[in-house]
């Protein structure tokens, strides 16, 4: 009987060791320690044995049983350590489950990046309505009475108002700047705010020109502020938007609502300033006209030009977004073509 137990033990240990996975091990466990196992049969037959034998066989059988459960536990640990949840093969090259998010328009994304940057400098975000009047779009901004931009060849006037003047002559706003006086009339100075938006010009369209395009304008009005701060502000903002330092230069420019006016160019990011097609071989991209707010504009906003000053910065959003992604046709922005828009997720 003891020999039999020896066989049971050695065969059992072998089966445990050779169980290939957790399921097989479970089968082995049933076979070795279950109700119909040989070990159980030995234990059942104890009654028919001599008392001496009964004791030693019984002890041995229990010892084997314990050994089995110990070995099985050990083996189980080994097997779990190398086990996989996958039975059979898993093709790791199959694509993952698709994410079904949509996208914000690339212009909106750039606008939000700028909003975040300006907000961090304490700027408010303001918006003017799309339709304005000659009073706000031109008169308040020191445009000469016969400035060509006032003509219908440049500006979209509303039907029935095109022959009127000032407050009564209405248009789709040709630039954002008119909104600055609205803000100042409402909230006064000192202030710093940005006012992004879409503007409209009666133009012939091509890859570089649009009738509806986006601008992002900022204005600071305060008692003592030098125009050289404008350049620092732009450097800060661009660094935040592009994630690295972008060289800028400030040069002479002219706008009716500024004196002095300047242009801020940024180094072409496509060629790094070497000169390429995108920057017309110049190495610089003209993106930000700006300047010191003209005394007549301050007067239109009921502010005393001897007390207040400030500066505008106007960012051409379309141009900046085109730079960011290398987009070569401005008309794509209004195309509503999902083949284009889905690229900006």
């Amino acid at each position: 009987m003891l020999d039999k137990l020896k066989d049971i033990q050695s065969q059992g240990i072998e089966s445990i060791a050779s169980a290939a996975d957790v399921d097989a091990l479970e089968a082995v466990r049933k076979e070795l320690t279950g109700k119909r196992s040989s070990l159980q049969e030995v234990l059942k037959s104890l009654g028919s044995l001599e008392p001496d034998m009964r004791k030693s066989v019984g002890m041995k059988a229990n010892e084997i049983k314990n050994l089995f459960s110990e070995k099985i536990q050990e083996r189980e640990k080994e097997l779990v350590a190398v086990a996989s949840a996958i039975k059979g093969e898993l093709d790791l090259t199959l694509p993952g489950t698709a994410v079904t998010a949509g996208a914000l328009h690339p212009i909106t994304q750039m606008c939000y990046d700028l909003n975040d940057a300006f907000r961090s400098l304490g700027f408010e975000i303001y918006s003017e309505d799309d339709i304005s009047s000659e009073k706000f779009a031109f008169d308040n901004l020191n445009f000469a009475a016969d400035h060509p931009a006032r003509a219908s060849m440049d500006t979209y006037w509303l039907e029935g108002t095109e022959d009127k003047r000032g407050n009564e002559r209405l248009c789709l706003r040709p630039h954002l700047t008119g909104g600055s006086v609205r803000y100042l009339l409402e909230k006064g100075a000192p202030c710093r705010f940005v006012y992004p938006g879409r503007v409209y010009r009666n133009e012939t369209t091509d890859a570089r020109h649009e009738r509806a395009f986006f601008q992002y304008e900022a204005l600071i009005v305060d008692r003592d502020v030098s125009f050289s701060s404008g350049r620092v502000m732009i450097e800060t903002i661009l660094e935040k938007v592009f994630g690295r330092k972008v060289n800028v230069r400030m040069r002479e420019g002219f706008f009716p609502f500024t004196e002095p006016g300047y242009e801020i160019d940024m180094e072409c990011l496509l060629c790094g300033g070497e000169g390429c097609k995108a920057c017309n071989q110049a190495g610089w991209i003209e993106v930000m006209p700006g300047g010191v707010i003209h005394p007549n504009v301050l007067r239109a906003a009921n502010l005393d030009p001897d007390e207040w000053t400030g500066f505008y910065t106007n960012i051409g959003l379309d141009r900046l977004v085109m730079m960011r992604y290398g987009v070569d046709d401005v008309r794509l922005f209004h195309s509503a073509d999902l083949r284009f828009l889905e690229q900006f997720k």
């Binding site: 949509g102 909106t108 509303l158 002095p260 300047y262 003209e286």
Partner: protein, 806 residues
């Protein structure tokens, strides 16, 4: 405007070490952007002077000759040529291999290679002027005539570059006219030279300003001095139409104009030199030997030089003789007074016309001439002195035999120097740094200002050429100082940050949350469309013309209406995208317009009504699921974007919506928008071919954002909740809201799972599956309690909506 360096060098000595790139850069940074630097010699590469040594006939062609030519490379080159006047000893233009020439003076330049012509090898090409870009400045009898430099009296050496020989080795700085609008003083090379002299502290050549003296008067009357503050007339006799001297033709061509004849060229040269337009009248055509500057009479006619017939009104200034208008003042010459081949004497006009009138008339007749371009920016009256003096000395040089027989200077109004005071304190504050007084005075003096400093104030007198509107306030002087120092040299001063208030703009934040919610959580793509929409889509959306605001000059006739809803744009975008996608979701956030009254800033200004709309559309095959897709997006919007909850109701069907499937969105009692399937009619009139669509539109101004997040924390249940599904059979007419409303008070939570119709479901019935949670607040539910609750739910449903358990 094309600025020729050679032209500039007549007035300023530019140091050798000053490169053209540097000049372009400094002008760009300080004065006006130079868009391009063109080296005019570039296109003349490998085009040189060659001397014909021998001419013999071509064995295989009657019209061709074989020439042996010395091009300065030692051995003679054989060149086959079809020129009509080839003669040994002539010095001619030779285009060598590698050069680019224009065949017969027409078309695009082609690259020249060594070749064989009718069996005879030809090294390059002996060219007529037109073939090497000289057609404008060397006149020939016929196109086959080859020019002999010696005969033209031009000194040259064999092998010398033709560009150099002809003075075409020039550099052109290209400036956009628009960017010169505010600087009328720069509309001429002398003005640019003066600016460079100020930038580089170089001496500028003084121009003569003396006018003829002691001559009989020519009769001139100015009736409108406000429109014409100065008019000079000079009678020049004993001249005839001929070619200009080579140097002048070259400069005129380099600066971008075409030489015509000496008389016209002199006026153009003066125009490009000092920016003073002039006009030459054939004096025999001036009736009554008198000039009258007056307003036209209504209905008066004028035939322009280019045969255009003008119907004048009494806002148009004309230059007349004793009887009729001769030309449109300051804009364009008339047909009848112009210089002809037979002209022997002229009246030379050198006048000043004020800008506003010129601008109006230019716009009225759409005549943008070189003269008008300059007058409409504002020219000082003193400039006429430079013009008259320069023109007369040129006439004397080119026509030594000419006689100046009469002169009149009619000068009712003089351009006054603008006088402006600017304080040291103002400059220090605005420049952000303190400049030396001597430096300020030096800069302003270089720019032509006369400056006196007294007790902290600079009394500045601007030169007349900056006094026609350009300089008018002390800020202009600040600008002049800043740009001449160079903006790049100012110390950078960071902005100060204020800590007295936080920026808290819930409306602004809501607008962004809405967009991000739709894009990131709901899978909608943001689109932009134009505010003017093709009327086809406006009508398809059921919008009436009178509900829209219209443009006076729309981009195209069918785009005259501005949108009063974003749905038309959605329709257009569905049409555009269904070619590539069979399922997509899009949204747009923009303003829409309606006739009405709205005062955003002042009472005097009345604008049409503006609304800020947020509109989305889902397009695809299964209408019902599209409807629920859109409904889901709108239903969850308030929770995710933190504004006051919206309820659905049926109040007023939107014009674009399906008869059955639409709902209004209510915020309290306010209708803030709608959702619905887009009607079959709308889709078909818009031209949507295969897809169905559902849409929502929301007036976001009517949403009420929470000032901050308002959800309240809910305790986790102390005792486990039991979750169960239940399917019931109900009549088709029973709504989910009825089922939910019957039992929502009995359970902790109830949610719709699915609706089912199919084989096992009897006709007229549907199966609704929902999931509910129940539980006790003070103990774990026993199975008995659970069974009891379930029975109660079934009972209530049976009673209220006639449901049977499935």
């Amino acid at each position: 405007m094309n600025i020729s360096i050679k032209f500039l060098e007549r007035y300023i000595n530019l140091p050798k070490e000053l490169t053209y790139e540097k000049i372009a850069y400094d002008l760009t940074m300080r004065t006006v952007e130079v868009e391009e630097v063109i080296n005019t010699a570039d296109k003349f590469h490998d085009i040189v002077v060659g001397e014909i040594k021998e001419v013999r006939s071509h064995p295989n062609a009657d019209t061709l000759r074989i020439c042996m030519v010395d091009v300065g490379e030692g051995e003679l080159k054989q060149i086959v040529c079809g020129g009509s006047n080839l003669t040994a000893g002539h010095k001619v233009c030779v285009a060598k291999p590698g050069s680019e020439v224009v065949w017969h003076g027409e078309g695009e330049p082609v690259l020249l290679k060594e070749t064989k012509l009718r069996g005879e090898s030809s090294y390059g090409m002996i060219c007529s002027p037109g073939e090497v870009y000289l057609g404008d400045i060397i006149a020939t009898e016929d196109e086959r005539e080859i020019t002999d430099f010696t005969e033209l009296g031009i000194d040259c050496e064999i092998g010398q570059s033709v560009a150099e020989v002809m003075g075409l080795d020039d550099v052109i700085l290209v400036v956009d006219n628009k960017s010169l609008s505010n600087r009328p003083d720069l509309w001429g090379h002398y003005g640019v030279a003066r600016e460079l002299a100020a930038i580089y502290k170089l001496p500028l050549k003084e121009l003569e300003t003396a006018l003829p003296e002691g001559l009989p008067e020519y009769k001139v009357t100015i009736e409108e001095p406000d429109r014409c503050p100065r008019f000079t007339a000079t009678k020049i006799e004993n001249i005839h139409v001929k070619e200009s001297p080579q140097w002048m033709k070259t400069l005129i061509a380099n600066a971008g104009m075409r030489p015509i004849n000496a008389i016209v060229d002199i006026t153009n040269f003066v125009l490009m030199a000092v920016g003073q337009p002039q006009h030459a009248y054939d004096s025999t055509h001036v009736q009554g030997d008198e000039i009258v500057v007056r307003l036209a009479k209504d209905g008066e006619q004028l035939l322009l030089l280019d045969e255009k017939d003008l119907d004048l009104t009494n806002d148009h200034l004309v230059i007349c003789d004793a009887e009729n208008p001769l030309n449109l003042a300051g804009i364009k010459g008339g047909k009848d007074d112009s210089v002809l081949d037979s002209t022997e004497s002229i009246i030379l006009e050198c006048a000043v016309f004020t800008a506003p009138g010129i601008r109006r008339t230019t716009a009225y007749f759409n005549e943008k001439t070189d003269a008008a371009l300059r007058y409409e920016k504002g020219i000082d009256t003193q400039r006429a002195n430079l013009g008259v003096n320069m023109a007369l000395s040129l006439f004397k040089e080119i026509y030594p035999e000419c006689r100046i027989t009469a002169f009149t200077d009619c000068y009712p109004i003089q351009t006054e120097n603008v006088k402006i005071d600017i304080t040291q304190e103002f400059l220090d504050r605005r420049l952000g740094e303190v400049l030396e007084r001597s430096e300020i005075i030096d800069i302003l003096t270089r720019l032509g200002y006369e400056v006196e400093f007294d007790k902290g104030t600079y009394h500045c007198m601007a030169p007349t050429w900056r006094s026609t509107g350009d300089v008018s306030i002390h800020d202009d002087i600040l600008g002049d100082i800043a740009r001449l120092i160079g903006y790049e040299y100012f110390r950078k001063q960071p902005l100060t940050i204020r800590f007295d208030s936080s920026v808290n703009q819930v409306k602004v934040d809501l607008a962004r949350k809405l967009k991000e919610y739709l894009a990131f959580r709901c899978g909608f793509n943001e689109i932009f469309t134009y505010p003017w929409v093709d009327e086809k889509y406006i009508h398809a959306a059921g919008i009436k013309d009178e509900e829209t605001v219209k443009l006076a000059t729309p981009p195209s006739p069918e785009q005259g209406m501005l949108r009063s809803s974003l749905i038309p744009g959605m329709l257009e975008s569905i049409v555009g995208n269904e070619r590539y996608y069979d399922k997509f979701c899009i949204f747009e956030s923009a303003q829409v317009f309606e006739p009405g009254e709205y005062h955003p800033s002042t009472e005097e200004e009345t604008l049409p009504v503006h609304r800020n709309y947020l509109t989305g559309a889902a397009a695809g095959r299964d209408a019902a699921s599209l409807f629920y897709r859109v409904k889901g997006a709108v239903e969850n919007m308030a929770g995710y974007c933190h504004f006051e909850k919206l309820e659905f109701a049926q109040k007023e069907k939107p014009s674009w919506a399906d008869e059955k499937a639409w709902l209004n969105l209510m915020s309290g009692d306010t209708n803030v928008g709608s959702i619905g399937l887009i009607s079959v009619a709308a889709l078909s009139s818009a031209g949507v071919k295969n897809l169905s669509g559902a849409a929502f539109e929301i007036d976001t101004d009517k949403l009420i954002p929470y000032p901050s997040r308002t959800n309240e924390f809910e305790h986790l249940p102390l005792y486990p909740l039991v979750e169960q599904d239940m399917s019931v059979l109900v009549d088709e007419s029973v709504k989910w809201a009825d089922i939910e409303g019957s039992i929502d008070k009995m359970v902790k939570e109830v949610r719709f799972v699915e609706e089912y119709r199919g084989k096992q479901i009897p006709e007229g019935k549907k199966s609704i599956m929902f999931r509910y949670k129940i539980g006790n607040d003070d103990s774990t539910m026993t199975s008995k309690q659970i069974e009891k609750k379930m029975g109660a739910i079934i009972n209530v449903l049976q009673k209220k909506v006639g449901a049977e358990l499935r």
